[in-house]
């Protein structure tokens, strides 16, 4: 199967500081790569490079044959990323914002509503549908942010440490959601410290070591 993502000796340095040591890997369409490593090893930086919000200062990065650039509409349509906290609509309920985001990708509002309800159910937050974002706990916010990222269509999914602030039951739900996307043929890059999540969903594992080249295995 064709490589969806191909990274060759890509690294990031800013003002002499290395944020990501050179790393190489390739990932075929529909496969899942788990990026693991200690804090500060460059996992989030690698995801940012793949999401096109940061440029590699060395090496090459190709996603569907092109350099990642979030300014490109076609790239934005292809890649969904959950890196840090996305923009939340403070005056809209969880369900309403999911519908608004879903509808922005071309589906009609009724379809977006059905999709929003399904996502709220999938992430175990259906009973929170009519809450405002500030009324959520940190774990609930985490689940909602993941639901938001999944509310938009994409063929490549980038997720940064989805296990943060989640209890074991919620983590199982996140694993279920990722497995479901795998079954749909989605290519996934997941940065994680959760051994159980990595073992459950990853086809391949890339270990980043601060100051050293990453190794895929």
């Amino acid at each position: 199967m064709a490589d969806e993502i191909k990274v060759e000796q890509a690294g990031v340095s800013i003002a002499g500081q290395t944020l990501l040591s050179p790393v190489s890997f390739s990932l075929a369409q529909g496969r899942t790569l788990a990026v693991v490593g200690a804090n500060g090893s460059g996992k989030t930086t690698l995801l940012r490079v793949l999401a096109g919000t940061m440029r590699a200062s060395r090496g090459t990065v190709r996603l569907a044959g092109k350099e990642p650039d979030e300014r490109e509409p076609a790239f934005r349509a292809r890649v969904a990323a959950q890196i840090g906290m996305p923009a939340l609509a403070r005056n809209l309920t969880l369900r309403e914002y999911l519908v608004l985001v879903g509808a922005s990708w071309g589906s009609d509002v009724d379809a977006a509503r059905r999709r929003a309800d399904a996502l709220l159910e999938e992430f175990g937050i259906a009973r929170l549908a009519h809450r405002f974002p500030h009324e959520l706990s940190s774990g609930q916010t985490r689940m909602y942010v993941l639901a938001l990222t999944f509310a938009r269509p994409s063929s490549v999914l980038l997720v940064d440490e989805p296990e943060q602030r989640l209890d074991p039951d919620r983590l199982v739900l996140v694993g279920d959601a990722l497995v479901a996307r795998q079954a749909q043929g989605m290519t996934i890059v997941l940065a994680s410290h959760s051994t159980s999540l990595v073992e459950r969903v990853a086809h391949e594992v890339l270990t980043l070591i601060e100051g050293d080249a990453g190794a895929a295995g």
Partner: protein, 504 residues
């Protein structure tokens, strides 16, 4: 140890903290006040007195409706004090002081009394000063007697005490209840303006009746009634202080600490974000409807805005007032001053309808969530502020006709249109450039803070200046020039917005 002694010990211990201002810092503050007082305070005060001494203004101050107007203003002030308490209460402490002052077995009516009395006196002082300003002008121009002036100012001070209690009640009360009571009071205040005979039944009516030029009979009786109302209000203060929860005190302390840090570091947008009211009502209203996308965003933004009803209503009302000022400005003498104020007010109140711009900026710096480009998302969020401006324009023109002014729709439309663009431009401002913090030594101290203030207020300054210029151009008949200049400035600002978004 008695509670009073324990509090004394706590105060002494706190007064010896390491980060306490030293003598040098206090001396510098006094030095700055002595320098800035004559340089800034006096001219502003003098300008205000001169403006109030204009024959047209004096005619309004001395008119038969002035007492009613003053009464309504006092009524609205009471509602505002209550609402303000919901946002920033008089008993807002340093976070570290909350467990010390409110976490022990000492009744909060004792431990928090000093803090409340201090802030309450500030509130009462501000109300008294605001009342004293027109009074001084009226007495000075012999439109009112000294006795009438003193009587009005004293009654205003009494009302200031009631407002201070309302401020505390706003902090102590359950938020939804506070908003509702505030809405009820403001509605009643407006009603008393429409039916002035009702003023005799309200505390604000009693103060209004003492307006220096009103010559209303029965002012001493009203003063007695007001004194009784002040006594009743003050008697509730201990109970209100005791009802303050440690949770609320902690929340307020943390919020204001974070806000003050953000302001000091120049991040006003973040600070305002922390203060912005959170939605609490209307969660079952349908905000996202199956409409064409610009209409969908208009409805979503409008319903989202109405979920903070007080903020939304105050924003709309202020925008309409700005519309009135802008409408009458071109025909008024020195109308550019009115237009500058109206434009500034318009810009500030449009903030209520511009949450979408802030959201679009946040979305622009995050990985793509919407299926729209950043520019399209910004454009979709233009709809609500434009529609709100149109509503305020019509309201302003109608009000201008009602007060007998010849309204200029063109000046209002141009100013509001530009203010909306300025709002979008300001939403993508980004962090304070570090170079602005470079020290600028002067006899007044380090003037780098002036740079920071100008940087923070640039959008407001642009809006106010442009509004004044538009009014001046329309007044002089150069309407085409006004249109061309506004369009050019708007285009420049949109280019600036694009540049800012690219840099974020």
């Amino acid at each position: 140890m008695r509670p009073a002694d324990r509090l004394q010990v706590l105060r002494r211990a706190y007064a010896q903290r390491a980060d306490l201002r030293g003598l040098g810092e206090h001396a510098y503050a006094v030095y700055l006040a002595l320098l800035l007082g004559p340089l800034v305070g006096y001219p502003v005060l003098r300008a205000a007195v001169l403006a109030l001494s204009e024959p047209a203004v004096l005619a309004v101050l001395g008119s038969s409706g002035a007492a009613t107007g003053a009464g309504v203003v006092f009524g609205l002030l009471l509602a505002a004090a209550l609402w303000f308490g919901g946002l920033y209460g008089p008993v807002t402490l340093e976070p570290a002081l909350v467990p010390l002052w409110a976490g022990t077995d000492i009744p909060r009516s004792r431990s928090l009394a000093r803090t409340f009395v201090g802030r309450g006196l500030v509130m009462a002082g501000l109300v008294t000063s605001a009342a004293a300003l027109p009074t001084v002008v009226l007495v000075h121009t012999r439109a009112a007697s000294v006795g009438a002036g003193v009587s009005f100012v004293l009654m205003s001070a009494g009302f200031g005490a009631i407002a201070a209690i309302a401020w505390l009640a706003g902090q102590a009360g359950e938020r939804r209840f506070v908003w509702l009571v505030g809405a009820g009071i403001s509605g009643l205040a407006v009603l008393t303006g429409v039916v002035p005979s009702l003023l005799a039944l309200t505390p604000w009516g009693w103060v209004g009746a003492a307006w220096p030029t009103a010559d209303t009979p029965g002012v001493p009786a009203r003063a007695l009634l007001l004194a009784a109302a002040v006594a009743v209000a003050c008697s509730t203060a201990p109970r209100l202080l005791d009802s303050l929860t440690v949770m609320r005190l902690g929340e307020d302390a943390e919020k204001w600490h974070a806000t003050s840090v953000a302001v000091v570091s120049g991040d006003i947008a973040h600070a305002m974000g922390r203060l912005r009211a959170r939605p609490s009502s209307g969660r079952t209203w349908r905000a996202v409807r199956d409409f064409e996308r610009s209409m969908r965003f208009l409805v979503a933004d409008a319903v989202g805005g109405m979920r903070t009803p007080v903020r939304f209503s105050v924003g709309l009302l202020t925008l309409a007032c700005a519309g009135l000022l802008l409408a009458v400005a071109p025909a008024a003498q020195a109308g550019w001053v009115l237009a500058g104020i109206g434009s500034g007010l318009g810009y500030l109140s449009l903030g209520v309808f511009s949450d979408g711009f802030r959201h679009a900026t946040e979305a622009a710096v995050s990985p793509a969530l919407y299926g729209y480009s950043d520019a399209t998302l910004f454009a979709l969020h233009f709809t609500l502020p434009v529609v709100a401006s149109a509503v305020a324009l019509v309201a302003g023109l109608v009000a201008a006709q009602a007060v007998g002014g010849a309204g200029s729709g063109l000046a209002v439309a141009l100013t509001f249109g530009l203010a909306v663009v300025v709002r979008a431009y300001d939403a993508a401002k980004g962090p304070l450039p570090a170079i602005l913090l470079t020290s600028i030594p002067s006899p007044f101290g380090d003037l780098s803070s002036l740079n920071v203030v100008i940087w923070q207020a640039d959008a407001l300054l642009i809006a106010a200046t442009a509004g004044a210029a538009i009014a001046a151009l329309v007044h002089s008949g150069a309407e085409t020039t006004a249109i061309v200049a506004t369009v050019m400035l708007g285009a420049l600002l949109l280019a600036g917005l694009r540049h800012r978004l690219a840099r974020l």
